[in-house]
């Protein structure tokens, strides 16, 4: 057993952390998320071309650094610490994960584009009626000659306004909630018939409702087997789930550090409020949640390659624990800051908002407890 990072992994973390310290302070972030497009494209370009960061999790043969899930976790944790809105999760973790799993011509063509920073991919999987069920799909892709015709409505697609490509789940057969008949497609985001309604999200990012109105897509947009895509989708969503847990670890660490700092400055009754034992114990409890979130993220990351049931149980344990921890740390950070904590002025409230969105992303604590129970605690 070994829980240390390799030299390369330490180097990735240090490089990224220095870059973000220079480019991504809170005020700068607030400025660019308030622009019309809601982002600064130069940062993505720099991540790709100056730092080579978008290749950290790809094989050397594709021009990457030869890493995988651990490298993704490192990047996501650092992005969490600065409330990064960069679309690393949908582009590298999710689309990259799907391409690596599928391999072949699609991977050869697309992975270099991702590494170079030319492609941004948004993951269009959720639907208004689907909640966290990945197979609950009304969107259909009907066979049409060599290609398909895509129709349906995808909800809250993070990063869609910036995307060059969309990774879309759709039904090629079966009924609305069948496990069979689900397929995965990687398509150009500008195809005729794709209609977007863009909006900001509460955590500072951008997302869209996407309507596919008889969109003609080519046959080679299909990733993996037609109708047998659900296991692949479950796998990449599990990878994404652990990656947001890594992001949560970074967010939670900053919530905790910010609270420690604030309580040592803020005085009441003539002393810094950090001297009050009741607040000290609360901050210790927050610390323990941060440490356990870090432990669970490592556990989940290291179990991503196990057989599906073991992987799913581990990922659900990880997400359930991290979601509860993010809730606890976020709410107590705000409470401890008092009135100033509920304003837009301080960074702390923005970390709280991201922590809160992560709680529900790819399934709430209750959703994941339920999945864990079905796998581990069968009657």
């Amino acid at each position: 057993m070994d829980f240390t990072y390799t030299e390369t992994q330490d180097m990735i973390r240090d490089t990224l952390s220095r870059f973000l310290a220079d480019t991504y302070d809170f005020e700068t972030r607030q400025k660019f998320i308030a622009t019309d497009t809601g982002r600064d494209p130069a940062i993505w370009t720099a991540l790709a071309q100056e730092l080579g960061m978008l290749g950290a999790a790809f094989a050397e043969g594709h021009g990457g650094l030869g890493g995988g899930a651990l490298e993704n976790a490192i990047v996501m944790e650092e992005l969490g610490k600065v409330l990064g809105i960069e679309p690393y999760l949908p582009t590298v973790v999710i689309a990259g994960g799907a391409l690596k799993a599928v391999g072949g011509a699609q991977a050869e063509a697309m992975i270099p584009e991702i590494i170079a920073g030319n492609a941004i991919v948004a993951f269009a999987y959720a639907e208004p009626q689907g909640r966290y069920d990945l197979a609950n799909l009304k969107t259909t892709a009907k066979k049409d000659g060599a290609g398909y015709v895509l129709s349906g409505h995808k909800s809250v697609v993070y990063a869609a306004p910036w995307a060059s490509h969309l990774l879309v789940t759709a039904r090629t057969g079966g009924g609305q909630r069948d496990k069979d008949g689900v397929s995965l497609f990687l398509i150009d985001a500008k195809l005729p018939g794709i209609v977007r309604r863009d909006y900001p999200t509460v955590d500072g990012s951008r997302a869209s409702e996407i309507y596919f109105e008889n969109v003609a897509i080519p046959g080679d947009a299909l990733l993996g087997a037609e109708g047998g895509g659900l296991p692949l989708i479950e796998q990449i969503v599990d990878e994404a789930t652990v990656a947001v847990c890594a992001e949560a670890t970074g967010v939670m660490q900053k919530l905790h550090e910010g609270t420690l700092e604030y309580t040592q400055q803020r005085k009441q009754f003539g002393v810094p409020i950090a001297k009050f034992q009741v607040l000290q114990h609360r901050m210790v409890d927050m610390f323990m949640e941060v440490e356990q979130a870090r432990s669970m993220t490592i556990m989940g990351t290291l179990k991503l390659d196990l057989p599906a049931n073991e992987r799913m149980a581990a990922v659900s344990a990880c997400k359930a624990k991290v979601a509860r921890g993010a809730n606890f740390v976020g709410q107590n950070a705000i409470q401890t800051h008092g009135g100033i904590g509920i304003t837009q002025e301080l960074a702390i409230g923005h970390y709280f908002k991201r922590a809160t969105m992560i709680e529900g992303q790819f399934g709430s604590a209750d959703h994941h407890l339920g999945r864990y129970e079905r796998i581990v605690l069968a009657d």
């Binding site: 057993m1 829980f3 240390t4 323990m288 624990k321 129970e373």
Partner: protein
């Protein structure tokens, strides 16, 4: 990073598993299965088997009789002994005073005491707590006054675990009343058969005689039995407490405990289905198991992470807090699982007793264990004190 065992570790695991299967005493297993209270001989029987094998002190340096195992091997060892439900080894000699003696003791103290701890010849008890001091250990009042080559010790200790069996005790005593609280304390090794020592039982909620009061009246202790410098006993005390805390995370034992609750919940009926199908019970079980996984990986990070080998630091307080809370929730869930049969009070077979206890075997100890385990958040420095330690030492508050 990886969490796989190496081929060497897997071979070690197999060796350990086979050793336990072949050598763990069957009569001890029977008594455990019947839920009986353990005698001194029961505790010592497994100790002596491990001593003969050379596996009694995995945490000790090799020169004093340790095994030289890696942290991973020690982890495997604790997993395997818990999995096989082996009786716990008394920590007072092996995990507590032993490390203090080999770290701070004189050559004579090491030569005399360490082999006797390993062989199980001496049973040790701990004389730390006093009435009125609780987790504020440094407020202790038991006094040792010099008289020639000896100290004369007077005072009262309490919560002294299994002192009724003890040959020796390690005591914190005040040797300078004028000094600031923590600076006038010394660490003494005292022969429990010394004139002036009285041990009185305290019966706890579960009905067990596990702890005692110890009275010391003009007890004569040679100064050669003081470990480390006079008035510097707090150094030994802190060292020992940090060692004690890593032991009480109890991950392997709690994993075994969860398997037992699951087995009970699959047997007990709730309506026309097993209890484990009850959504509320299942949810509590899932959360407990996930929290235990989080504790396990936090412990593994401290064992096999970048700070491995640097000894227990203040982060051991985290393991103590979470480990003790999980142990308590586990006993609470077990009691809930056994339903009505948590109520009958059964003290185990006495000599010549042939009446079978009431209810299923797994229910006999559910309530006493639940009551008993309330201690885990109190002893070894209460969880409130552990939070103070993290606040000060880790968070810098």
């Amino acid at each position: 990073m990886d969490m796989e065992f190496s081929p060497e570790d897997l071979a070690f695991q197999k060796e350990v598993r086979e050793f336990i299967a072949e050598n763990y005493p069957a009569e001890l297993r029977d008594k455990q299965d019947e839920g009986e209270e353990m005698s001194k001989e029961d505790f010592l029987s497994w100790h002596k088997i491990l001593y003969k094998k050379g596996w009694i002190a995995p945490a000790w340096p090799v020169e004093y009789g340790g095994t030289g195992w890696t942290p991973t091997q020690r982890f495997i060892w604790s997993e395997e002994t818990a999995r096989a439900d082996c009786i716990r080894l008394m920590p007072f000699g092996l995990a507590m005073v032993g490390p203090v003696i080999y770290t701070f003791g004189t050559p004579e103290q090491k030569a005399h005491f360490l082999p006797r701890i390993l062989s199980g010849e001496d049973w040790w008890c701990q004389g730390y707590s006093e009435p009125g001091s609780g987790s504020d250990l440094a407020s202790l009042r038991t006094a040792a006054v010099k008289d020639g080559d000896d100290y004369i010790v007077n005072g009262q200790k309490t919560w002294t675990t299994l002192a009724q069996h003890a040959d020796w005790g390690f005591f914190l005593v005040r040797t300078d009343k004028e000094a600031k609280q923590q600076e006038g304390i010394s660490f003494l090794l005292i022969d429990m058969k010394s004139p002036g020592i009285t041990v009185r039982p305290i019966i706890t909620l579960g009905g067990e005689h596990e702890v005692n009061e110890v009275w010391l009246e003009d007890v004569r202790v040679p100064q050669s039995q003081r470990v480390y410098e006079e008035n510097k006993g707090w150094t030994c005390a802190k060292f020992l407490l940090a060692h004690e805390r890593t032991g009480i995370a109890g991950v392997a034992a709690s994993k075994r405990g969860i398997e037992k609750v699951k087995a009970i919940a699959r047997t007990e009926l709730d309506g026309d289905q097993p209890l484990i199908a009850n959504a509320f019970f299942k949810r509590k079980l899932a959360e407990l198991e996930i929290d235990l996984t989080a504790l396990e990986f936090t412990e593994l990070r401290s064992l096999a992470g970048p700070n491995a080998g640097k000894g227990p630091g203040p982060e051991s307080s985290l393991l103590k807090i979470k480990g003790s809370e999980i142990q308590q929730r586990l006993t609470e869930l077990t009691l809930e699982a056994v339903g009505h049969y948590g109520a009958p009070y059964f003290r185990g077979f006495g000599e010549g007793d042939n009446e079978h206890p009431i209810g299923p075997d797994y229910a006999h100890r559910a309530a006493p264990t639940y009551f008993n385990m309330r201690k885990t958040t109190i002893y070894g420095g209460s969880n409130e004190i552990q939070r103070n330690i993290i606040a000060k030492m880790v968070l810098g508050l």
